[in-house]
Assembly symmetry: C2
Homo-oligomer: 247 residues x 2
């Protein structure tokens, strides 16, 4: 029986989503509880993709298999009662046996929160404290140049990855209605390279500061050279907001 | 020279504001940095009052004395560069030598944030995750019975405190415009007893759940008995929002 779960997490105290030899990870946190529920049997969960250290998720998705059928609401309840309060299982549903939480992804949505105002210690792990006024219009123009299908080599760490082409379907930049200094970048794409969102945001911040122009995005994409883009924005502001499998 | 500083802090990893033999405190955090700035001289800061473990502040105030005059913006900048990122000094100003950050308080404002919706791990240390629909109108009626001058013995830990009379000047209950499950209680008063706000909120939550009626507040105040009121709401949702010294 294959199950798909939707979950949220506070990534601030984790070494990232994916299990690794050293440090706390979200995957391990969930698998530890599933191990007990499955009668001390190791259950591997397959997520839509990893998130890096300090990155949060509002709706991450992962599938896993159990030999038997279990009532999904009971399973959700059991898992939530055992798991760390940094993670919350929002929904579990039964899916087809050939469904795959990573391979079947149609699009993903990441959001990035940034504070242009005075440093706020209360939200430091959840909103990047940029604390500098940025040119919103120029950043919005920069965002538009990122949309579409491009080779995003300039926005990732070039290592084993072979195919750098990705499609950004939609972007947006929202200003909070109550706090005009709180802005949110939105990126919807077919998939993202490692550090791509944070590198795009870092570049947009430099555009917002006037260190780069929005049209520089065209040249940066063209260059296929990581050194041409801006810095990597901190993980604190980044959230995996949605994973879409439906047509 | 007497200085008054306004500061914010994330109280989630602290044993409270006030210095104590064991555990990290906000006061110690600030005094440690002032000690260095003042050339290894111990400087005591006098806050408007303490906040308990896990409680946050948006605008806490404290005064301290230095033998010499120092440019306040430079002092603010130096302090912020040395201090933990859980604390932020928003403003430092020079005040009269007889000003006292605690004794001169005219009113204080506390806010309490509560989530009636699905558990959210991302805000667990900053918004109480009640995760239950509450009767807003009945809680608002309950709030009104708390306003005015009363003996608040039913809402505090009865120990050394002698005078239990306090005045609540204004209360409110706001529903977030974007997230209808996020509510904020507001309490403005001349002063508050230990745990008073959290005990009032705990009682209002029981009213919101239908376990108590709003009119029960009248009896609870009358009883002067802690056992008549509700539970102590968790510290996570509580913020010292303002301290007022002006007429």
């Amino acid at each position: 029986m294959r199950y798909l779960m939707t979950f949220s997490y506070d990534g601030s105290k984790y070494q990232g989503y994916q299990k690794q030899p050293n440090g706390k990870t979200i995957q391990e946190e969930i698998e530890k509880s599933l191990f007990k529920i499955a009668g001390n049997t190791a259950i591997t969960i397959h997520a839509s993709g990893r998130t890096d250290a300090g990155v949060h998720a509002i709706n991450q998705k992962a599938h896993f298999d159990l030999d038997y059928k279990i009532e999904v609401d009971r399973l959700k309840h059991s898992l939530n009662s055992m798991i760390s309060n940094d993670v919350y299982i929002k929904k579990i549903e039964i899916v087809e046996n050939d469904f795959h939480a990573r391979f079947d992804v149609i699009s993903k949505e990441y959001i990035y929160k940034l504070n242009m105002g005075e440093y706020n210690p209360i939200e430091k792990d959840y909103v990047f404290q940029c604390c500098e006024k940025l040119d919103i219009n120029e950043m919005m123009r920069g965002l538009k140049y990122l949309e579409g299908t491009h080779d995003f080599r300039s926005f990732t760490k070039v290592d084993e990855e072979k195919d750098f082409e990705r499609t950004i379907i939609r972007t947006n930049l929202l200003i909070d209605s109550k706090n005009k200094n709180l802005i949110t970048f939105i990126f919807v794409g077919t998939g993202f390279l490692r550090y791509q969102v944070r590198n795009m945001v870092g570049t947009l911040i430099e555009i917002g500061k006037g260190k780069k122009k929005s049209t520089d995005i065209i040249d940066i994409l063209e260059a296929k050279d990581r050194r041409k883009a801006g810095i990597t924005a901190p993980s604190s502001g980044l959230y995996l907001n949605n994973v879409d499998y439906s047509k």
